[in-house]
Amino acid sequence: MSRTFIEILRRALDEELGRDPAVHLLGEDVAAGGAFGVTSGLAQKYGTQRVRNTPISEAAITGIATGAALCGLRPVLEIMFIDFATLALDCLVNQSAKYRYMSGGQLAVPMVVRTQAGAAGGAAAQHSQSLEAWFIHVPGLIVVAPSSPVEAYGLLKSAVRLGDPVLFIEHKRLYTLKEALPVDAELPPIGHARVARVGTDVTLIAYSAMVRNALEAADELSRSDLSVEVLDLRTLAPLDMATIGASVSKTHRVVIAHEAVESGGLGAEISARIGSDLFDELDAPVTRVACPFSPIPFAPGLEQALLPGTANIVRAVRSVLG
């Protein structure tokens, strides 16, 4: 039976709430199902103490989740849009991320912050951003960005069970996507990328919704007899350079695609690491496909004009194969 990304997230949360009494959900409207319905019905099943509504106080609720995690709970906090995580930055950056380290390993913050990111449908400049690069810059934080419903199911469950603070970024464009959940699927480990499609001519690195564009591009290029290997990073911090390295050593060409702006983005980090660690393997410059340096516009035509898509990836791959 096929389920949407939202339904599969709900199932993962339902199972984790049922499995471990330490798991608690909190956030704005979560007891009512949340802004996108991910937690719909869970308060009825587990009670409003375990699925708890909060005021619109991102700084405080992130701190409360962190403090509760220090004292034995496994909170799963929903920040409705990643754009609002800016209001919780002191806690995420200065407190949650550093607690284990600053305490010399005495305390830990096993917490998941679920948030939703990316552009779609005219959400405009304050509800569409891809801010993951800010968070990968913070030692102690884990950043996960699933590319599909099935991936989200396993990664969310793994994140809930981890002993570290995890920022779990869901792309709004994936929310209505449907997939069937395999029976007895193994949970993917945090910190490991996935080869989403095997290929030999070029390594195409993507994450989140952009993995779908990457797979579409690979399909299209295969009709020109070009074999594209697609990597789905899954965990953005810490980066799985071992999987990237194995692929680059095979293909010798790299395209990195993400929706976030190009400047200071994850692509820059990956490109620099490939440049320093795998320079001798490269037959072409590492190329990035990313958003131009602009806020996300409102008008549908403008939004479409700005966002990188499958056609941009196809062009980039053709250029590195020159």
Partner: protein, 332 residues
């Protein structure tokens, strides 16, 4: 504490005040000598708040503090040597030299953390209280903060949430009249911090924070109510920072008269006068002070003699597992 407080209890607290006073004096001395890395902040003159509140706490109760937190840490039961070694950045320190003066943590004693970002500790303490509430425990959470924290939005967010959720948390404001170098009058029209509690439906009191007997009584009432599920309480303790904002602060913003008046308000002198009125001998009180001095000096010397952390361990404690040490290298 449900049993009545005896003269012996008060003497114990008198000793505890001295323990903090001497400790801070040693931090000041060694900071001036260049032995203390970073920016230590002293709680000299504010000891009565730490001791009067912590006297009612168990080891299981959670305590959070801010950048001026040495006294709270000691009052919660931390070992002098381990606390001082941390302030010196030694491997035998509470946090193995990863935290320092502004980030003391002593989890075994329920000292769950000092944070160097003003007001950042408030929601953490509320979170601990929420965890206790979910378990139906009588354990409580206590957070110390200065009046400067009321300028932060998260102070108000946390008060609202704590009151709304009826969390077992005691907010203890040490109102020393200064946010860093700026007097309260210059940064808020709200004179008393306790006034912020009423709109959220939270009980609050403003008390003389330099009178240990007053602090002890007020905190005792608040803690007892909290353990019975009364919901949060805000205790504003008026106190005086006898030292500057940080070690080396020349305090040009304070007049000579103000500095002289502060000495009169010393909580240790005030308690001593009361205990003598109640029948304690001055000589035995002096002996308690001397005992505290010896304990602290002994701990400080052992801390100074202990080695720094091994630089090879610098990447420990970033993540829960070494396999997550970011980022993995090619071919690893």
């Amino acid at each position: 504490m449900t049993e009545p407080t005896t003269l012996a209890d008060w003497k114990g607290m008198y000793r505890a005040l001295w323990r903090i006073r001497i400790f801070e004096g040693q931090v000041q001395r060694l900071a001036a000598a260049g032995e203390v890395p970073g920016f230590p902040h002293l709680s000299t003159g504010q000891e009565a708040v730490a001791v009067g509140v912590c006297a009612h706490l168990t080891r299981e109760d959670a305590l959070f503090t801010g950048h001026r937190g040495h006294g709270h840490t000691l009052a919660k039961g931390s070992d002098v040597q381990a606390a001082f070694a941390e302030i010196l950045g030694r491997d035998s320190g509470l946090c193995r030299g990863r935290g320092g003066s502004m980030h003391l943590v002593d989890a075994a004693n329920g000292m769950l953390g000092a944070t160097g970002v003003v007001a950042g500790n408030l929601p953490l303490a509320a979170g601990a209280a929420w965890a206790f509430q979910t378990r139906g425990a009588t354990t409580i959470s206590v957070v110390f903060f200065g009046d400067g924290a009321t300028g932060a939005g998260v102070f108000h967010e946390t008060l609202n949430l704590a009151a709304l959720w009826k969390l077992p948390i005691l907010f203890v404001c040490e109102n020393n009249g200064y946010a860093e170098f700026t007097s309260r009058e210059e940064h808020s029209n709200v004179k008393q911090v306790s006034a912020f509690a009423a709109p959220y439906g939270m009980p609050a009191r403003t008390i003389d924070g330099n009178d240990l007997i007053v602090v002890h009584a007020a905190a005792g009432d608040a803690v007892a109510a909290l353990r019975h599920g009364s919901g949060p309480y805000l205790l504003e303790c008026m106190t005086y920072r006898m030292a500057g904002h940080y070690v080396g602060d020349a305090q040009h913003y304070r007049s000579k008269e103000e500095l002289a008046a502060i000495k009169e308000k010393c909580p240790i002198e005030r308690l001593k006068r009361r205990l003598i009125e109640w029948g304690a001998r001055e000589s035995e009180l002096d002996a308690l002070g001397e005992e505290a001095r010896q304990e602290v000096l002994h701990g400080v010397e052992r801390a100074r003699a202990s080695p720094p952390p091994d630089p090879a361990t610098v990447l420990e404690y970033v993540y829960s597992a070494p396999s997550l040490a970011a980022p993995s290298r090619v071919n690893s």
